[in-house]
């Protein structure tokens, strides 16, 4: 529980070191430069990994609940996006666990009751497929910005909404 009975967040004593004041301009530049290098490397790989995505099934279905998704691995706007079902986690009645990454960093996906998909980057709208949701997340990422593995949350070191191994049931 992160908030005590009187409403004061527990652990408020942490983080008393104050804001980071060490050269934001320099840091920003460094982040952008690093990102550009990463993007350049990804583009070199594009012809190889871009070919591995399975084609969509014939007759593009109308609703998300009808969409049978294949694993994907492609370069989208200079970013490598990969998504796979995780057979090791088993496929139960609720479907398989999925794992999606952008440039190798995990992108957390969630599923809506209508079968559509949301991502951590875009929490207030949803998409028919995990691929569409992943591309939409990339659309929102600024140049040079990378996804971050968020620090453990207040619920015993894992987020309440995160499926095991950062995957979700699909």
């Amino acid at each position: 529980m992160a908030v005590s009975a009187d409403g004061a967040p527990v652990g408020a004593e942490r983080g008393t070191e104050g804001p980071e004041r060490s050269g934001p301009e320099r840091r920003t530049w460094w982040v952008i430069r690093r990102g550009l290098l990463a993007s350049a490397a990804a583009l070199v790989l594009a012809p190889v990994v871009g070919a591995s995505r399975a084609p969509r099934p014939e007759g593009d279905p109308e609703g998300p609940e009808d969409t049978a998704e294949s694993a994907f691995d492609e370069i989208y706007r200079g970013r490598r996006i990969q998504g796979t079902a995780l057979p090791d986690d088993g496929c139960g009645a609720e479907g398989c666990a999925w794992q999606v990454t952008v440039d190798g960093h995990p992108l957390h996906l969630m599923r809506r009751a209508d079968g559509s998909w949301l991502t951590m980057v875009d929490h207030y709208s949803s998409y028919r497929t995990s691929l569409e949701a992943t591309r939409a997340a990339v659309d929102e990422l600024g140049p040079g910005q990378r996804l971050r593995d968020l620090a453990p949350g207040p619920l015993g070191g894992r987020y309440a909404h995160m499926g095991e191994h950062h995957g979700v049931r699909a």
């Binding site: 009187d6 408020a12 804001p19 009751a113 980057v121 207040p154 909404h161 499926g163 979700v168």
Partner: protein, 290 residues
């Protein structure tokens, strides 16, 4: 003593300064980031397992009401005169006027990387580093109106359509409900175009950047937005009072229901606080809206 939450466009210069200073103070102390983490932790989607306390369920409104009260309490421990103002996005629709002024929330993000570079929450000022962000940028981002795929803020008519529904929420109590005040206000639609996202959700989308993601609390406009959403609950209660409009469901879903254990009924406790929606329905002894 009942305090007053005001329209942000009617705050005095001193009230704006005090509100901003209190936010910067709790950010400095590390308290603010606890709120960011809490909101991330309680975002459970309805296509997955688990209790949906904060979103895609009936307790969307009481959960955020309590969340706002906590933030307000933290601000008031710094400055007892501060209350959370509300942003009426049906009226204040400009990208450059209130609340996007340099003495309040600062302006839009720049086109290069959506970084907010004006006002007290600009990264360069040194007071508002993003520690719990989705990306490693470390700075607050906005994309007001979605430059690349423009949308407009919800209209009065759209908001009225939600307020007109006399039923608080309906089965299956999730994001697929087409009836009921709660989801019409929370704003989950179907389909993939921008028209599908209404009221609350649409505003998150219009502000963009940090407000679009799981760590939306990083943008202080989150509180101004949710204060206005909270005001709608109060308006809805007033409008439908004669028909006995109450929080629904009154009782937990029965055995065999898919929603059993997934949603919070009127007298069930909401995590992390242990308060019930019933206890959050009447806040007239705590605050009122002006």
């Amino acid at each position: 003593m009942v305090y007053v939450r005001k329209d942000v466009s009617r705050l005095t210069r001193d009230e704006r300064r005090r509100f901003v200073n209190a936010l910067l103070e709790i950010k400095w102390r590390g308290v603010y980031d606890e709120f960011v983490r809490l909101h991330i932790a309680y975002y459970t989607s309805d296509g997955e397992t688990g209790l949906r306390a904060a979103h895609m369920g009936p307790s969307f409104l009481p959960w955020h009401r309590r969340f706002l009260l906590d933030l307000e309490g933290a601000l008031q421990r710094v400055d007892p005169s501060v209350t959370v103002p509300y942003w009426d996005w049906t009226r204040d629709r400009s990208k450059t006027a209130m609340p996007w002024t340099d003495d309040l929330l600062g302006g839009n993000g720049r086109s290069l990387d959506r970084q907010v570079v004006t006002g007290p929450f600009a990264y360069g000022q040194g007071y508002w580093p993003i520690r719990e962000g989705i990306t490693d940028g470390g700075f607050l981002t906005r994309d007001l109106g979605r430059a690349g795929d423009p949308i407009v803020l919800p209209t009065k008519k759209e908001l009225q359509a939600a307020l007109a529904d006399p039923v608080y929420d309906t089965s299956p109590w999730d994001s697929t409900c087409t009836k009921g005040f709660r989801n019409k206000l929370e704003g989950w639609g179907t389909g993939k175009d921008n028209v599908a996202w209404r009221n609350h959700n649409r505003v998150h989308r219009w502000v963009g950047g940090a407000m679009l993601g799981g760590a939306s609390v990083n943008d202080p406009v989150f509180w101004l937005h949710h204060a206005f959403v909270d005001l709608q609950w109060t308006r809805w209660q007033r409008r439908h009072k004669k028909k006995g409009a109450r929080y629904l469901p009154a009782d937990p879903p029965g055995p065999g229901s898919e929603q059993r254990g997934r949603i919070i009924a009127r007298h069930e406790r909401m995590p992390p606080w242990g308060v019930t929606p019933d206890e959050m329905e009447d806040v007239s002894r705590i605050y009122r809206y002006a």
